[in-house]
Symmetry: C2
Subunit: 321 residues, 2 copies
């Protein structure tokens, strides 16, 4: 079966172990509420603010779990990855904390702020073209040359178990949730939510939110098998990558529905969040709110956890400028 | 004595009463820390985030204390004020919560986002020219016409007692502070810090931070009497107003020092805070951090409370655009 997982599926025991392993290197991020957005949506929204996370995004959870789970012998050669941004930053941060090398293949079109931050954490960047094909080819060369341990941005059980610690915290911070919604690109965060919630609170609905212009997860979900686009174009630059076998395992089994929003709806939701909640967050993080505003009947009257996935934006290139 | 207070000086009992009175209408705002800024400054900084406050700024504390302290008879005619922005917003919010009218005289040059927000809270705006002289003349007409209760943005004992609740919370949230620093314009927030700290923790140093281009409080402090400039020009638009008798009472007695920063230093500190802490804050709020970065020897090794006063910026007119 071509969409079947290629590595062991992480279990909730892996999540508990991950949480203990990464605790010294991450923040337990706050949950914010907004009476303005509650009135606007008719739902009670609880924003889990991973934009305040170390390295500026939830991805540091999975990256730390992978890096600090390596044996000393494995760790010596360092870690390597390809990423559109936040995973690169997070893996560089994690490797830096352990004192090992980190090799990163990044699209040359990635925001300058992200490249500078990767280098700031000690990551070594090799640039590729902004397509999945180019990224994978350049990465193969780097990987072969360095012998570093490959930490995939999302299709890695260690990463999924790490991301799952976010929804585990959220459950601890907010009682009586009816639903959780997170943006979906490769599906690492959503898979983490599936893993935690299917174990601890299987009645909580799990929604994934995706840009219309990069809706391959939406189409995969409807079709029942993975559909991957090469280089879709959206302002939500963290969400351009396709599902892979390990995330498809979770998304296909546990997600309630995938909702989409247009570029304009995403930018409007992003700007409104900055204005009313006074937080800096990425376009990707605005996709869940954009879909809630677009589908109020799905969320009205519910207590909804909304994962704000990261805050690494280039302040010189804001989408409403 | 021309700089002597014109109304009773608020006491710490007034602060305790204010805190109880306003609690249902305000947030107990969080205190954030940043390992990045701690490393950069050599100090331990604790950011009291009033940008997350109701109506987007600390000013809602004083405004609520004034509005909810009115007798029913006084309240009927509503409240009135002049303000460069956040006090207008806050008084409109407070009046709206009590269901009474709010008349606001505002410079026609104030950010559109603030004017729209005042109207959104139900405030009625009369515009004036961007000078203290014009503002006071237009206000006198509005005040006479409506008979509303005048709530001065800072030279009012009810407002000072309200603002003092912010530093009272901060003391409760962070142990062992060595210093507190806040921006200074008219001196309402700084007077509130003086009132709280001189009562509860008189050993804590109190610093005020001011734009070089609107340094009338700095010059007043050095001269020993109030110096007022008409319409100074700075990006920190909340800090253009001069000290008045009631705030001078506190500033002249309890402030350790007033530090200043250039426009460029303020914008740099503002952008850096957005980038690293992922919070939206006003230029005024960046003045304390700008002065800390400029005077590291004053703060090194100290635990410093930094008041982030508000987050109401016009996202279409950011100073680095």
């Amino acid at each position: 079966m071509k969409d079947a997982p290629t590595t062991p599926i992480p279990t909730f025991d892996d999540v508990v172990a991950a949480h203990e392993r990464i605790a010294p290197y991450i923040h337990r991020t706050p949950v914010l509420t907004s009476s303005y957005f509650n009135e606007l949506t008719g739902a009670e929204l609880f924003f889990k603010c991973e934009n305040f996370q170390k390295a500026g995004a939830f991805k540091v959870r999975g990256a730390c779990n992978a890096v600090f789970g390596l044996s000393d012998e494995q760790a010596e050669k360092g870690v390597a990855t390809h990423s559109s941004g936040n995973h690169a930053l997070s893996l560089s941060y994690a490797a830096g904390r352990r004192g090992i090398p980190c090799h990163v293949v990044m699209p040359r079109t990635a925001p300058e702020a992200k490249k500078a931050a990767v280098r700031g954490y000690g990551g070594e960047i090799t640039e590729c073209e902004p397509s999945t094909t180019s990224r994978e080819a350049v990465f193969a060369e780097v990987h072969a040359r360095t012998g570093a341990d490959f930490v995939h941005p999302y299709n890695d059980p260690r990463v999924i178990a790490g991301q799952a610690t976010c929804s585990r915290e959220l459950l601890d911070q907010v009682e009586g949730l009816d639903a959780v919604i997170a943006p979906i690109g490769g599906g690492g965060m959503v898979s983490g939510c599936c893993l935690t919630l299917s174990t601890l609170a299987p009645d909580i609905e799990i929604y994934a939110a995706e840009p219309e212009q990069a809706d391959d997860a939406f189409r995969s979900f409807k079709a029942g098998h993975i559909i991957a686009d090469d280089a879709p174009n959206t302002i939500a630059d963290g969400l351009k990558v396709p599902l892979k076998e390990n995330t498809w395992h979770f998304v296909s089994r546990y997600v309630t529905d995938i909702l989409t929003a247009s570029e304009e709806e995403i930018v409007d939701a992003m700007k409104l969040t900055w204005q009313r909640m006074k937080i800096v967050m990425e376009p990707s993080c605005a996709v869940p709110l954009a879909t809630i505003l677009k589908n109020p009947e799905v969320f009205r009257g519910k207590r909804v956890g909304v994962i704000i996935t990261g805050g690494n934006v280039d302040l010189d290139k804001l989408p409403w400028m």
